[in-house]
Each structure stands twice: as structure tokens, then as C-alpha cells.
């Protein structure tokens, strides 16, 4: 169960392969990757992600433990970066493995929904003109209700 909160860039494909290599007896692997995307209106200079050292890993571990309790999983992995990130760089990824695909899919969605709204990360988008904190979306809070 790898959990990493880091500033360093990571290679999504390499992490996916490393995760799969550890698995045994699972038929299904799901990954989700979040990537810094261009803003709709003005070019983004960079994204700054702040987090709460100490609480962050604890919160993620709690979320992963809940997923493991609820679904029949082989393993789960969460990598989340903080600091300064540029367009097209990976922000974070989750990976889940399970004997059956529905468990792997649902657990990955659950992890994402909770990481989004319950792990202490805050994103700021910095353009040449503005710097603004990303607002939490109602639909992200709503997404938690399905679990």
C-alpha cells in the first residue's frame, strides 16, 4: 500500500508498472491520473499546491483504509504532489487492483472523491495577471454522498 506525498515529478507509466509488478492473483487494475491542464480563459503560468504536512498522509491513509475495508482489493496506491506544477505535469495518481473489475473501479472512484474533498490539499492557479485559489465545487461534495 504505497502512499506518497511529494514535490518530485513522477512517471505515471513507470508507477503503474511498478504497482502491477507487486500484484499477485488480481485480474483488474485501475489507475486514475490527474494532470495540470490549461485554463479555459488565460494561459496558466503554474499551479501551486499547498498541503498540511502531518495531516495529509494521515488523511490519505484513512481514506485508503476505508476503501480496503469496503471493497475486495488486492492493493491500492496514492501519489500526490504539492508545490509548483506546470501545465501537463502529473498532479497525482491512484491505482487499485482487485480480482474483479467492479471493485477496482469503485475503489478508485471512492479514493478520488475523498482525496478531492477530504485530503488537505489546496490548489492555486497562477497566470500572468492573477493568482486565484481553486474553489471547491458543489458536485465534488455531492460526489461523497454516493458512498
Amino acid at each position: 500500500m504505497k502512499i506518497s506525498v511529494q514535490t518530485e515529478h513522477f512517471d505515471i507509466g513507470a508507477e503503474t508498472n511498478a504497482f502491477i509488478k507487486l500484484q499477485n492473483g488480481v485480474g483488474a487494475v485501475v489507475t486514475f491520473s490527474g494532470i495540470v491542464r490549461e485554463l479555459d480563459d488565460s494561459p496558466m503560468t503554474f499551479m501551486e499546491i499547498e498541503h498540511y504536512p502531518g495531516m495529509t498522509e494521515k488523511a490519505i491513509r484513512g481514506i485508503v483504509n476505508n476503501a480496503v475495508k469496503r471493497w475486495s482489493l488486492g492493493d491500492a496506491c496514492v501519489i500526490h504532489r504539492y508545490g509548483r506544477l506546470y501545465v501537463r505535469e502529473p498532479i497525482m495518481m491512484v491505482a487499485t487492483s482487485a480480482p474483479h473489475r467492479l471493485d477496482a473501479f469503485e475503489a478508485a472512484e471512492f479514493l478520488m472523491d475523498y482525496l478531492k474533498s477530504r485530503a488537505p490539499f489546496w490548489k492555486k492557479e497562477v497566470t500572468q495577471k492573477h493568482a486565484s485559489w481553486v474553489a471547491a465545487k458543489d458536485r465534488d461534495e455531492d460526489a461523497l454522498r454516493r458512498w
Binding site: Y52, A59, W133, E141
Partner: protein
């Protein structure tokens, strides 16, 4: 002595990331009331509690949470990870 942490725009409005405070506040709400009296920047940062979350000793909780034995209280906007 309690450690208070601020994140994201709460940190920016208050102008510092953390501070230590001697307080008699029995709940998070009482602590907020005390802070708001200190200075305008606090008063403004805490003006809309519906936009804020609190963690006591690194666990998300709500504003009526007691502070007995609490070592660390953190205030921040809704999280936007993932």
C-alpha cells in the same frame, strides 16, 4: 498553549502560517470569537464560517469541537486535492 495553523487563503488573509496562543477557549467556536476580537485581519478571515473547515489535532471536525487537550487547531477553506 495551543498551536494554530492557517492554510490557503486563510493563511494569506491572516498573513501568517501559524502561531501559538495561550487561550481559555473551550471550543473551536470560542477560539474563533477570541481571534476575531484580536485584529481586523482575523475578523475578516473568519467572517464567513460556512467557507471554512477546521481540523483539531489533524482530524477534520466541526466548530463546536472541544479544545480540552487539543495541541493543534488548523483553519482552511474546503479542500481541492486530486
Amino acid at each position: 498553549m495551543i498551536k494554530i495553523l492557517y492554510f490557503a487563503w486563510v493563511r494569506e488573509r491572516i498573513g501568517e502560517a501559524s502561531e501559538s496562543l495561550e487561550t481559555e477557549a473551550k471550543t473551536v467556536a470560542e477560539l474563533i470569537a477570541e481571534l476575531r476580537k484580536k485584529e481586523t485581519r482575523y475578523d475578516m478571515a473568519f467572517s464567513d464560517l460556512s467557507a471554512l473547515h477546521v481540523a483539531v489535532d489533524q482530524n477534520l471536525t466541526d466548530f463546536d469541537h472541544p479544545l480540552a487537550d487539543a495541541k493543534e487547531v488548523a483553519f482552511f477553506p474546503p479542500m481541492t486535492g486530486g
